[in-house]
């Protein structure tokens, strides 16, 4: 059995802050006697990631994804619970932990903003004490995968988002970590760069055997990269399993929309749910049925327009949350 690269058990994180009372008088009172507010960012999160696996962490904003990843990477200390990365507790020895992991937090760069990216890479090479030969080899490889040489002499302040994140990805991998944390790495990018980054991520896990924990909002990304997902909502895990199982349990199946040419003879297929104007809509739960229908439609020459949808992952997730809160209501 493959060992667990990342383990989270009963993780909980509580933040304390002060809040200001509304209004002018309230503002003055808050100056001398502020209100203390406790926020439970993560309530009870447990899951694990095996070596060489890519796990996607999904959830709405504020669900606790980022906080979880910060705890697992050792940046935050959990209020309760246990986590292990490569068998060690990350925050107890951050220096050793740093050699084992790499991280890219989408909105924040680790590059030195006013230095050419190559300088940042050289800095990190020395900070992580990577040998010159290994460094050159890795940089070559990363350059080939991410096409950095066009702009790696520029400063991040002059780069576009896509360029900067690609440099950040390279920076995170210079010391060849076995485990990588990615917090919304493709957010805000255009489609072409997104695809390049995704291919890069897939390569790292499929060909190089790295363990990757990825948080994302992007459903296309999830279905492309992850075979296993963990859904988090309101600080708790609401689903932990394979993507295919998720779709089967909570999905509403496939949909196909067809617009036939006028006077076309309608095919005899099951699954017709209705018509909206010129559009005929078919739906079903068995993927084989969708393939069958599509094959038959594509053979015809009187189909004017054809749209096929897999399960809309947004809807699947919404369904998961809905059922989960319903279950909680029933239980309480």
């Amino acid at each position: 059995m493959r060992s667990q690269a990342i383990e989270a058990a009963g993780l909980r994180k509580v933040f304390h802050s002060t809040s200001r009372r509304p209004g002018v008088l309230g503002g003055l009172r808050s100056l001398v006697a502020p209100e203390r507010v406790t926020t439970v960012a993560v309530d009870d999160v447990s899951f694990s990631v095996s070596e060489g696996e890519l796990l996607a962490l999904l959830g709405p904003n504020g669900a606790g994804k980022s906080t979880t990843i910060k705890m697992l990477s050792g940046v935050l200390v959990p209020s309760e619970g246990r986590c292990r990365v490569a068998g060690q507790v990350p925050h107890l020895d951050r220096r050793a932990n740093a050699q084992r992991i790499g991280a890219v937090f989408g909105q924040r760069s680790q590059l030195w903003w006013d230095l050419p990216a190559l300088e940042s890479f050289a800095m990190l090479r020395d900070i992580f004490r990577v040998g010159d030969d290994a460094y050159r080899k890795r940089l070559d490889e990363l350059e080939g995968l991410l096409e950095l040489s066009g702009f790696w002499r520029q400063r991040p302040r002059h780069m576009s988002l896509g360029q900067r994140v690609r440099c950040d990805l390279a920076a995170a991998l210079l010391h060849d970590p076995a485990i990588i944390f990615l917090d919304e790495p493709t957010i805000g990018m255009d489609a072409v760069v997104k695809e390049q980054v995704r291919e890069f991520i897939r390569y790292q896990t499929a060909e190089r055997g790295r363990t990757i924990l990825l948080t994302t909002h992007d459903m296309a990304e999830v279905s492309r990269l992850a075979s296993r997902v963990v859904l988090i909502n309101e600080g708790r895990v609401v689903y932990d399993g394979g993507l295919a199982d998720l779709q089967r349990e909570y999905g509403s199946g496939w949909k196909v929309r067809v617009t036939y040419a006028p006077d076309a003879a309608l095919p005899e297929v099951s699954g017709l749910t209705g018509t909206v104007g010129d559009e005929h809509r078919y739906a079903g739960t068995d993927p084989a049925g969708q393939r069958d229908l599509l094959r038959r439609l594509l053979d015809r020459d009187d189909v004017e327009d054809l749209q096929a949808h897999g399960d809309d992952l947004e809807e699947v997730m919404a369904e998961v949350y809905r059922r989960r809160s319903a279950a909680i209501e029933v239980a309480s």
Binding site: R20, G27, S30, L31, V32, P34, P156, R157, H158, M159, S160, L161, Q163, R164
Partner: protein
Amino acid sequence: MLTWRFITLSIKSAMEYRTDFFLMIAVGAIWQVTVAVFATVLITRFPGLGGWESGAVLLIVAVRMAGHLLAAALFMGTRQVAGLTMEGRIDAFLLRPMPVYRQVMLNSFHVPVLGDVVVTGLMLATAVRLLTLDWTAWRIGYLVVAVLGTMLLEAAVQTFLGSFALRHPTAKLWQEWTEDLMATFGNYPLHILPSLARTVFLYVLPIGLCGYLPVAFLTGNTARLPVPVWVAAASPAISLVLFLASLGWWSIQLRRYESVGG
């Protein structure tokens, strides 16, 4: 009305970090006390500076402080242009139906100013008392005008330099440096300096227009003036002209503004 709303919003957001808020007021107060102590040193250790009586020298310091106070209260935004540009906030300002310059000025309120006011007032009062002048309505009016002129000159310098900051954030370093220079060298009757330094402060970085020239005219200390008396008398007007010119320069630079990458 909108301006008032901006100011109160800025103060409110500054109050969010309450310790910091009080500290910034304290900074203002401490700074003013510093300058006041320094001014006292000046007139007690170096009496008869440049042939001027103590009250007149003190008045230079007081007028400069008062003008600086107003400039800090209303035009502090000029020092923040570099930061705003780096954060991309200028882009947002360009999309709003208010002149960008005004938005930059209103962007935040320089809290230390609140601590400045008392000490500045005291300085002015002391200087006025020390001087044996007949304070007619004209004189008082001219004093006010001199303070406003100081404010306008500081605003002009910082606006001019701040315009560069729209495209070169390093301008910020030059802004800080000239601010230092103006604060350090603006308190003296400039004719005591050798001609090269005097030229710098009258024609290159014209802080002479701030406290020195108007006060020289006001107190009648025109004996060793390096410029004609009418220039000294008109110095607030010259400051106004420079300020308007700096606004023009700002518009030119703003038109050539390019946003930051990414």
